[in-house]
């Protein structure tokens, strides 16, 4: 108890908490959106079921993966791998969808929807968990808080998060940069490198995160700009023509 109260008084705790909240908003939101989209085409009663199953699975996965991730991140090389994964996720956050993805076979029944949701849950929980574990570092409190915060976001957050991101897209940019920061920091503290870095290149402890953040934002923005420029044709999802009586 004393330890906990002491921890609450450190700046590291509060900045860590802010970072975890941000990371969770970014990385739970997409899970929530997928659940909402996959369930949309179902009849109302089945929609509820799909959301409940999907969100429930996400919660369970997150708990299991958190435990696994924390243990794994102690092993050599895994922080490096995790860092690369986070970089990739972070950059992809900044790139708009390009109309070419087919995704999982899209059909209109409950099981197909749940299948889509479970796959999304697995992929998206994994990176949420890695990011939270990386930000939490040694703090058990932050880890649990991080996990706890992500759960209601995934379950209830789709509409609200979509609206917020839409209105303030800078949240995503900052979030992606934050992930880059976390990834850089994680890679610099991998057990394989840690001792060498501490002895010879202690400056990497701030340079790697900073470089990570800059890299993510620059790469993401560049790729997004390329995607925009490449999009010549006009997107039109309407049917084209409708009639009243001719004048």
């Amino acid at each position: 108890m004393m330890e906990f109260l002491n921890e609450l008084q450190t700046a590291a705790f509060w900045t860590g908490l802010l970072a975890i909240i941000w990371v969770n908003i970014i990385l739970s939101g997409d899970n929530a959106v997928v659940i909402a989209l996959a369930a949309r085409s179902l009849p109302a009663r089945q929609q509820k079921q799909a959301v409940i199953w999907g969100a429930g699975a996400a919660v369970v996965l997150r708990i299991i993966l958190t435990i696994v991730a924390v243990e794994l991140l102690r092993l050599p090389w895994l922080k490096l791998i995790g860092g690369v994964l986070l970089f990739w996720i972070a950059v992809k956050l900044l790139v708009p969808e390009d109309g070419s993805d087919d995704g999982v076979e899209s059909s209109e029944n409950l099981w197909a929807a749940i299948k889509t949701i479970l796959i999304a849950d697995l992929v998206m929980s994994l990176d949420n968990v890695i990011a939270v574990a990386a930000v939490a570092k040694d703090s058990f409190v932050l880890l649990i808080l991080g996990l706890a915060i992500s759960i209601p976001l995934v379950i209830f957050g789709a509409t609200m998060l979509m609206k917020i991101m839409d209105r303030y897209p800078i949240i995503i940019t900052i979030g992606a940069g934050l992930l880059g920061w976390v990834a850089g920091d994680m890679m610099a503290t991998d057990p394989v490198l840690k001792d060498w870095v501490d002895a010879n290149a202690a400056w990497l402890h701030w340079a790697a995160p900073a470089a990570g953040a800059a890299f993510v934002v620059a790469t993401g923005k560049w790729l997004a700009a390329r995607a925009e420029a490449g999009r010549r044709e006009v997107v039109d999802l309407g049917e084209g023509s409708e009639t009243g009586a001719p004048r």
Binding site: L37, A38, K92, G103, P169, V234, L237, P246
Partner: protein, 143 residues
């Protein structure tokens, strides 16, 4: 025949823009070719979500939201027995509106001064402002 682009988002000003357009068209001897357009924002997390759910699901989402936004305008035009083509675009509104105007060779754009997303004190919404800057043709703004 003149070609008009009317950009709507389901808001009251854009509805009034449609009313104004209908009165306009009523005066023209040979009517006009009308293009009704609603622009949807890209969803956040675009590429991550689409790699799991697929592009079609997202397109379907945009289409449904777009049709909902177009509903009032379509009803008004139908009641006035005016022919039109309807479109749903995706992206940054002002850019897409002007792109459509250019591509369809429209002579004029009709739109509301403000839309659904606006904040109270602005005289002119951000989309309308950008369209004025970017538009290749005259723009009629309805309050």
């Amino acid at each position: 025949m003149l070609k008009f682009l009317v950009a709507v988002d389901g808001s009251a000003p854009s509805s009034r823009a449609v009313d104004h357009l209908i009165r306009h068209v009523g005066v023209l001897k040979e009517g006009a070719e009308i293009h009704l357009l609603n622009v949807q924002h890209q969803i956040p997390y675009g590429s991550r979500v689409s790699s799991v759910v697929g592009h079609d699901k997202i397109a379907q989402f945009h289409r449904e939201e777009g049709m909902a936004a177009l509903k009032t305008a379509m009803q008004k035009l139908d009641s006035a027995r005016v022919k039109y083509h309807h479109h749903i675009g995706v992206g940054a509104e002002a850019d897409v509106i002007c792109q459509y105007a250019r591509d369809k060779g429209c002579d004029q754009i009709f739109m509301g001064t403000r839309g659904l997303g606006s904040v109270s004190n602005l005289v002119l919404g951000s989309v309308a402002t950008k369209v004025i800057h970017l538009s290749p043709v005259p723009v009629v703004l309805v309050k």
